[in-house]
Amino acid sequence: MATTSERPVALGNAWTRWFRHGDGLFAAIVALFSVLVVGLVFAVGVVTYLGSAEARAQFGAGFFTGIDWNPIETSIQAVTFGAWPAVRGTLLTSLIAVTLAAPVGIGIGIYLSELCPRSIRQPLSFMVELLAAIPSVIYGLWGVLVLLPFFTDVLANPIADSLGTIIPALAQPVGTGRGIIATGMILALMILPTISAITRDVLAVVPNTQREVMLALGATRWEVIWGAVLPYSRAGIVGGIMLGLGRALGETMAAVMIVGNTARISDSWFQPATTAASQIASELTNATSPLHESALIYLALTLFAITLTLNLAARILVAQLSRGAASSRF
């Protein structure tokens, strides 16, 4: 022991550095964890790929554009599986969700970090974050019991009767209100806390000097936010929106309860539809045949590919935004 303590620590040999001091061991353990995570993503890819073999063999790339989903043979239609209704429903509901939630979420973030009195900042932040803690099945329940009746009476029918006469996507019939737009609205609520919390956090790290410069130039509060704070943090805000989009794409439970679970393409977005996640969740347990099951796994593979692609696109966008700051217009 005495010799160990006399040896200069920094000059210890590789063995000492790696094992006696434990650095190497620690590094190896955390590296293992990281490999596990990467391996998990890989494993999900492999399982969905292998599980969808039968459906892939039968439908190939035509699966993505196929508009019919008939698990049961009838006198008028053969068994066939096409993903387009589900893919379209997933993309449309998520798009609506982001379109609704992004401006509101950014607004909340701005209020929390720039304008709100110090005394209510903490409680308000907490409430917004609490929104993220509500289980999605409760959102779904609330959607069915509260949002749908309100939505049909106050929004959907009046809109369909007015704007709907010009825009086919907003046309009648509204029916029960279950459909793409109602689902998009519920999803918007669910991703709101993500967008607002991230916006608040990225605004909070904007250096104060950036605000002060604008103030010193004679800017109003609005001009400070618009001219200095938002440009400085736009990469982070876009990142927050993309995170919200990711959640909307994969959200299952609320979609199952609201979207109507109908694998059909209707002109009107008020009509029942389906999303990839809700279709898989609602059909997998009572799949009628191995091909049906395989088709659902193929649909899962498709959803996986969509989220991966959008995430990658988001990364590239964020990287370009942070690099291309010189092109700021204001």
């Binding site: 000097t209 002060e212 004679g218 001219g227 440009p231 010189a326 700021s328």
Partner: protein, 297 residues
């Protein structure tokens, strides 16, 4: 122990030399500027001005006159309130909860802290340069154009002219004229960034320029360039500069304000105001002499 005794012995001889050095600097600066300094009326006047952060009084009974078109240096040890005083002039404390000014502080006779005074109007007349260069992460051109656009300048031609004019006055034009739109303001060197910030501040033609230790983050050569620049800007702007560097105050300012924190209340007070050469040659207050000779602070 012997080390400490040696230090004490040295301290007794050092102060005189230091005072002599700074006084010489101040005298040289005065000679260099002889004839160029105009006799002018006061631009900014403080009369029994107090400033508070909540219950804490940061400035006590400040009475001062900042003459127009001159450079006033504010010196003093850390915490003496010199930055607070500077930032009180363009109401930069407005965002700080509980911060408030009392007493009179006027710009051309207009009360800066009157209820009817629009802080935005004050800030458009009083430009500011900060301690650390803080360009926006946008192009060099856009950095200078920011304030102009805020002031409603929209015509491309007018923007081009005024951006060029400001960059020339900030002695930066030749270094950046080929990459105005290509390079980000943050891509420049520290000294260039600070001159860009000066260009940004003067582009809107304010009357007063506040500088909060503008060279503290810069190397000596960049510092020298900024000081030369300040020497030229005095022809058009009333400049108030806070500095930690007494040599800099001696070189650059026409008038020097020495501030000190009250030991009991911790509020900042003005101890002495005098023409720079006079303050550094024959300080009127023992505390000023102690500070400029390096005995504390």
């Amino acid at each position: 122990m012997s080390m400490q005794e040696g230090d004490t012995a040295m301290e007794q001889t050092r102060p005189m030399n230091l005072v002599g050095g700074i006084a010489a600097t101040a005298a040289r600066a005065r000679e260099r500027r002889a004839g160029s300094v105009q006799l002018t009326g006061p631009k900014i006047v403080a009369e029994h001005f107090n400033f508070y952060y909540g219950a804490f009084q940061a400035l006590a009974d400040i009475s001062l006159e900042f003459p127009a078109l001159q450079v006033v240096g504010i010196i003093g040890p850390s915490g003496c309130g010199k930055s607070t005083l500077l930032r009180a002039i363009n109401r930069m404390h407005d965002r700080t909860p509980g911060a408030r000014g009392e007493g009179r502080l006027t710009l051309d006779g207009q009360e800066i802290y009157a209820a009817a005074t629009d802080p935005i109007q004050i800030r458009r007349r009083v430009g500011m340069v900060f301690q650390r260069p803080n360009p926006f992460a946008s192009s060099i051109y856009a950095n200078v154009a920011y304030g102009l656009r805020l002031n409603g300048v929209r015509s491309r031609q007018q923007l081009d002219e005024r951006v060029e004019h400001a960059l020339r006055r900030a002695a930066l034009w030749d270094e950046v004229k080929d990459r105005l739109h290509r390079d980000s303001g943050t891509a420049l060197s520290g000294g260039q960034q600070q001159r860009l910030c000066i260009a940004r501040a003067i582009a809107t033609e304010p009357e007063v320029l506040l500088m909060d230790e503008p060279c503290s983050a810069l190397d000596p050569i960049a510092t020298l360039k900024i000081e030369e620049l300040i020497d030229q800007l005095r022809a058009q702007f009333t400049i108030v500069m806070v500095t930690h560097n007494m040599q800099q105050a001696a070189r650059v300012s026409d008038m020097t304000v020495f501030m000190l924190m009250d030991e009991k209340t911790r509020a900042g007070r003005v101890i002495e105001v005098a023409a720079t050469a006079q303050l550094f040659t024959s300080p009127g207050d023992a505390r000023t002499e102690a500070y400029i000779s390096g005995r504390f602070g």
